[in-house]
Symmetry: C2
Subunit: 354 residues, 2 copies
């Protein structure tokens, strides 16, 4: 699939846009002032595939914690700033790799001062437009937080930054509404070559967030739009990673970790597939090698689908047939499914999974 | 959005295709021979929004249970047949509302006999193509279970049915691969006016199934393709319903039940939003009235987003502001969030939710 060309920016060592692979990012939900807790979450995010992490900077104490978090967390760090431009300046002083501002919450002269400091530090700024905090004049001009209002707000603030001589700009246009999200990014992509950070905000808890993010992020990626993505789900941000990589994998954009193909089960299913799937999912959560593992409840579609997978089980009554790259290896008792599959996967995975 | 025109079929009282609303269906995973258990699951599915239900018919005893399941379950019933055409005939005799055949598993003369019986009973047939059980000649012609092979198999069997004078045909083209699914349905939609049943098969456990189904089903719906949908997730089929309606709601196609907008939480969050979201989600699972409820962790984006919602809470430190249709009502202590919101929602919901 052809991706829309954008001007690259660099966040720490990570290129965003300009033909780079789509970057997966997240945001901590710990108290930023608590360095130990925040670093622990950053490391868990990194292990789960997060490549850039953002932290909220609500006050001066949080800003002062950034250097330590960045050093110990070992991921490029973005400081998230809403109201006080002084916190952006403090964050830049602490050596963060990028600043995210919500320009709806900052006066223009303050934005210019942030641009000056970021320019001197050589780090990019994300203009993070949010439907929940648009400028009042745009809300009344466009009749509400519609796509066109989000885009006009972004273009306006790109201008503010460019007039201040600042060019390393990334843009997001977030709404909790999927159709608004799609329309806004499509228009933005047509009107600007800034790299785009995709996301649907306030998407809800895990399953609903997976639905809204898959649609809002995935449909744009499928059109070649988007340079970095963030799945928002209420709860532990580590759980965003399987959703993010699930979207990228399903669209053939990036592959990371094991894809489990498991049937929905029906009245024909004679093995405990739900337990098997859940156990395999847990056991393989840390595996980064792209592999396809099939767990099939019966012989109807099992062998056919398992033949497409790197390794698979097609279950019968208390036993199953183990497949490897399309070839039946042997019959396995149900009690040994997990152990046998993990041994197979470990042999296939370059860095080891089981 | 304009929907692709298809020839309608009728499953019990439910129209599929021909301009009807997109129908949500599912499949039981109980032992079909166990009438009580199956009926209980059918009723749970119906309460959760399922409009048509399919059951596996692996043997004669399962076929004989269909009349009782249909009567007590009170949902249009589709019998799922794979290998034995005799089971299809028995199911039709039991009064089912439609038959699903996997033609890869049935000889042509047997398919003709099913068509004759279905025609006499006045019920439709779904040609359910599955990448896992394609005809061998098509696999070798197309070099694997690719989109074009799925479409050719479907067109071939539409011909078999039409030559037998049978016309009430619905088609599905299932693969566990999202890109194959998209390509197959797009080609099918361009080449046929049969109503299409959308789904990604063997999609995995709940969250990954939500990702793959949102992409595979949602992108097609957004293009106007698809007349009925089935989300496949390993486990309790009732959990497919929030995913199905989540997709339809996000795309503005159908609205059912409460949409919870909750922020991902960050270092600024001062209330226990995860617990609040989970409790609200559970309490509102049975509500069918389309409402938008916002649960926001802080004052930064909270008031703006909550203003878009029918009702919402924007949390501070141990308290929150209750909003109703954009207007602040009052300050509420955190301990009373759930009770206060449920009272508000109950007043807004036509049939009562709390």
């Amino acid at each position: 699939m052809r991706r829309k060309h954008t001007q690259p920016v660099f966040i720490g060592g990570v290129q965003v846009g300009g033909g780079a692979p789509v970057v997966v990012q997240s945001m901590t939900n710990t108290d930023t002032r608590d360095v130990r807790k925040t670093v622990r979450q950053v490391r868990r995010l990194a292990r789960a595939g997060c490549e850039i992490v953002r932290v909220a900077v609500p006050d001066e104490e949080a800003a002062q914690a950034l250097r330590a978090i960045r050093k110990a967390g070992r991921l490029p760090l973005i400081a998230d700033i809403h109201f006080q431009h002084g916190l952006a300046l403090a964050a830049i002083h602490q050596g963060v790799d990028a600043i995210r501002i919500n320009p709806g919450n900052l006066a223009r002269d303050k934005i210019r001062r942030i641009a000056k400091a970021a320019g001197e530090a050589g780090i990019p700024i994300r203009i993070g437009i949010n439907a929940g905090s648009l400028e009042k004049d745009l809300l009344s001009k466009h009749g509400g937080p519609h796509a066109s209002a989000l885009v006009e707000s972004a273009l306006r603030h790109i201008d503010v930054l460019r007039q201040a001589g600042f060019d390393a700009i990334k843009v997001s246009l977030k709404s909790s509404d999927v159709l608004t999200t799609l329309a806004a990014y499509r228009e933005m992509s047509a009107r600007s070559d800034c790299p785009l950070h995709l996301g649907v905000t306030e998407a809800g808890t895990e399953v609903q967030a997976a639905v809204k993010s898959s649609l809002g992020i995935g449909m744009l990626l499928a059109e070649g739009i988007g340079d970095t993505i963030r799945v928002s789900a209420t709860g532990d941000p580590v759980r965003e990673m399987p959703i993010a990589y699930g979207i990228l994998r399903a669209l053939g954009i990036r592959r990371r970790g094991v894809e489990i193909i498991s049937c929905p089960t029906c009245g024909r299913c004679e093995i405990d597939l739900m337990t098997l799937s859940t156990r395999m999912e847990k056991a393989l959560a840390g595996c980064t090698t792209p592999l396809k593992v099939a767990l099939m409840g019966c012989v109807v579609n099992g062998p056919g689908e398992a033949a497409e997978a790197d390794v698979g089980i097609a279950g019968g009554r208390g036993f199953g047939f183990l497949f490897r790259k399309g070839k039946v290896i042997r019959k396995v008792p149900e009690a040994e499914f997990v152990a046998v599959l993990l041994t197979e996967i470990d042999a296939l995975a370059s860095r080891g999974c089981a």
